[in-house]
């Protein structure tokens, strides 16, 4: 009578059973870090375990620089050098270096592409959106540098077993509604601390009908409700995605039929319409319709939650053959997705052609302006007057640059429709 999260934690703690509230020490399957938190993690690792210490298992350490890549900032560039040196010194096979063919881009999309997200496993990362990988039916969550350094040396960490909140979407969603609308609705309903310390399990036909990218949009944003991890039962859709990505064996885990939940919320998918998070909080909920005609200065399509190939296909379907009225920035999460912008076509035109013909600018695969970053970051909101609609996941003050700038979060359909009109626009106008 355990949830997936409880079963995975029990197994990795060597116990037959755990209950919410138990503190357990678990064995870690994958530890991921990047250029912002990797260098301080390495610093703590060396200080605590010694200058010549080796990581606990080099097959289980994944280093993906993605945050501050295309910048002249000397400190940011120095941080990449630290990662490179460490990977060399430790002979790490899973390092994706900047400026090489191995360079990937945003870690949360690179991890599944490279086959590191597997059902039943435990994945930690030094980034709050590590929860994205829960879409594959594994326990995945973000940690800090100290915890990461501890794992790097020991392969273990302590955790409190979370209670699980169940979110069910009955029936399939409307064609103009995307996974982003579902998660914005949930966060708006429960608040930015509505799931603090808890697991969020997504279920129902509306979730089962989503592809892996849609599912990752849901789990990506559980941290925006304070959630510890998001999780979705693995199924044929999951296994099919993994077929081409990994040969690594894994053991899928499902919720027991009599698992105990903290709470159960049931949504009728047909009641969900295009949603927004207004400035300056992901739970500042509104429908797109309610805020229609709000003037914008910018549109942004990118990040781990809104820069996947399915997000660009959705946006391109709406933008095709129409010029954008505001500065529009397109940032593929990974280099594989960037290649997809070239190879995926709609009515004979590549996504890249569609965006460029519309007047949008395309950046290089990375986190880019999702989190502001150094002043020369592509798409960063450097002016206080900017009003941006974005497919990213966070809109607290200053998140994308200026702390006065306003950011609306929305689905790729809504951002594309709004870019064409220069004001907030319901995507139903284009269906």
């Amino acid at each position: 009578m355990m949830t997936i999260t409880e079963k995975i934690l029990a197994k990795h703690a060597g116990k037959s059973k755990v209950e919410p509230g138990d503190n357990v020490w678990v064995d870690v399957d994958i530890l991921m870090t990047h250029d912002v938190c990797g260098p301080p993690t390495i610093g703590i690792f060396k200080k605590q375990f010694g200058q010549n210490a080796k990581v606990w298992d080099k097959e289980k350490v994944v280093i993906i620089p993605d945050h501050y890549i295309f910048t002249k900032d000397k400190y940011a560039n120095r941080n990449i050098d630290i990662l490179r040196e460490f990977a060399k010194e430790q002979d790490l096979p899973h390092y994706y270096d900047v400026g090489t063919e191995r360079y990937k881009g945003v870690c949360h999309m690179a991890l599944p592409e490279e086959g590191f997200t597997r059902p039943g496993e435990i994945l930690f990362g030094t980034d709050s959106h590590t929860c994205t990988a829960g879409a594959f039916g594994e326990f995945a969550t973000g940690i800090g540098n100290t915890d990461a350094a501890f794992i790097l040396g020991t392969g273990k960490i302590w955790l409190r077993v979370p209670e699980t909140m169940q979110f069910i979407f009955e029936d399939e969603i409307h064609p103009y509604v995307m996974a982003k609308d579902l998660i914005l609705k949930i966060i708006g309903d429960i608040g930015v601390d509505g799931a603090t310390y808890r697991a969020m399990n997504f279920a129902g036909d509306g979730v089962k009908a989503l592809d892996m990218e849609g599912r990752m949009t849901l789990t990506n944003m559980v941290i925006e409700a304070g959630g510890k991890n998001g999780i979705i039962e693995p199924d044929e859709v999951t296994f099919k995605y993994l077929e081409t990505r990994t040969d690594h064996a894994y053991e899928p885990v499902l919720n027991d039929f009599d698992a105990k939940y903290h709470s159960v919320r049931v949504y009728k998918s047909k009641d969900i319409e295009p949603m927004l998070a207004k400035p300056h909080s992901p739970d500042n909920k509104s429908t797109v319709f309610e805020m229609r005609n709000t003037q914008l200065t910018r549109a942004y399509i990118g990040s781990c939650t809104g820069g996947k190939i399915s997000d660009f296909i959705a946006a391109a379907r709406i933008i095709k053959d129409k010029p954008v009225k505001v500065d529009t920035f397109v940032v593929p999460a990974t280099t594989e997705i960037a290649q997809g912008l070239d190879s995926v076509k709609i009515d004979g035109k590549s996504l890249k052609e569609i965006f460029l013909n519309a007047g949008a600018q395309i950046g290089e695969a990375s986190c880019a302006a999702c989190l502001g970053g150094p002043a020369d970051t592509f798409g960063r909101l450097n002016n206080d007057e900017e009003i941006c609609i974005s497919t990213t996941n966070r809109n607290f003050p200053g998140r994308m640059g200026s702390k006065q700038a306003q950011v609306y979060l929305a689905s790729p359909y809504t951002v594309a429709a709004s870019a064409i009109n220069g004001k907030i626009t319901d995507p139903r106008d284009f269906f």
């Binding site: 503190n23 912002v36 938190c37 260098p39 301080p40 610093g43 605590q48 945050h67 501050y68 900032d73 400190y75 940011a76 120095r78 941080n79 030094t126 980034d127 709050s128 590590t130 973000g142 940690i143 800090g144 540098n145 100290t146 915890d147 501890f150 040396g153 020991t154 302590w158 409190r160 930015v192 601390d193 603090t196 310390y197 941290i223 304070g226 510890k228 909080s281 989190l371 502001g372 970053g373 150094p374 002043a375 966070r394 607290f396 003050p397 200053g398 998140r399 702390k403 006065q404």
Partner: protein, 186 residues
């Protein structure tokens, strides 16, 4: 954990996320290099909008212009303190600025965990929302043994929640010291 934490308090509202604690553009400085590290103290809480910085009146910089350390040793905030990104630079920046303890009605879990496991500061929880009770520049005194806080400016006393299951790690001064004290690593 050794007695009293005494100092001036800086008051903030709800949902102070880690981008406000240390804006992303500043995450590039080394946390090892003593000279570079000082910048975290300079820019700590620099992402908080001016009207929300130092309540109730606002418009108070946490770290004074040209300084690398703050005058404030204690932060009082409302709910969900430390939400957003997992950057450990956030509790580190507050510590580098001179903060020893935070009192909030609730915390986001990664920030709470980082504060405790990294031994940066003590994250106290309070049932009463002290951000409505105390003012920036009041002098507070936290008794670590009794988890009681006294506002020396107004004379009022408040009870904070006991630290509970993390108190052993807080006492040890972080997860590495705790693990060594308990024979889990050398």
């Amino acid at each position: 954990m050794s007695g009293m934490i005494k100092g001036k308090v800086f008051v903030l509202g709800e949902n102070i996320d880690t981008d406000q604690m240390i804006p992303a553009e500043h995450l590039v400085y080394s946390l090892e290099d003593p000279e570079e590290k000082k910048f975290y103290g300079k820019f700590a809480l620099s992402g908080v909008p001016a009207t929300e910085s130092g309540l109730p009146q606002g418009q108070i910089p946490f770290t004074a212009e040209g300084k690398f350390e703050s005058d404030y040793k204690i932060i009082v905030a409302s709910n969900n303190f430390g939400c957003g990104s997992s950057r450990e630079h956030a509790p580190a920046a507050l510590q580098i600025a001179g903060v020893q303890a935070v009192i909030a009605t609730s915390y986001a879990r990664i920030f709470y965990r980082n504060s405790v496991d990294g031994g940066f500061l003590i994250p106290y929880e309070s049932k009463v929302d002290l951000s409505k009770e105390v003012s920036t520049n009041d002098k507070l005194e936290i008794n670590e043994e009794t988890s009681e806080v006294k506002n020396l400016t107004t004379g009022k006393t408040y009870q904070l929640n006991p630290l509970g299951s993390v108190s052993e790690i807080v006492k040890a001064g972080g997860i590495f010291k705790y693990a060594r004290e308990n024979g889990m690593m050398q």
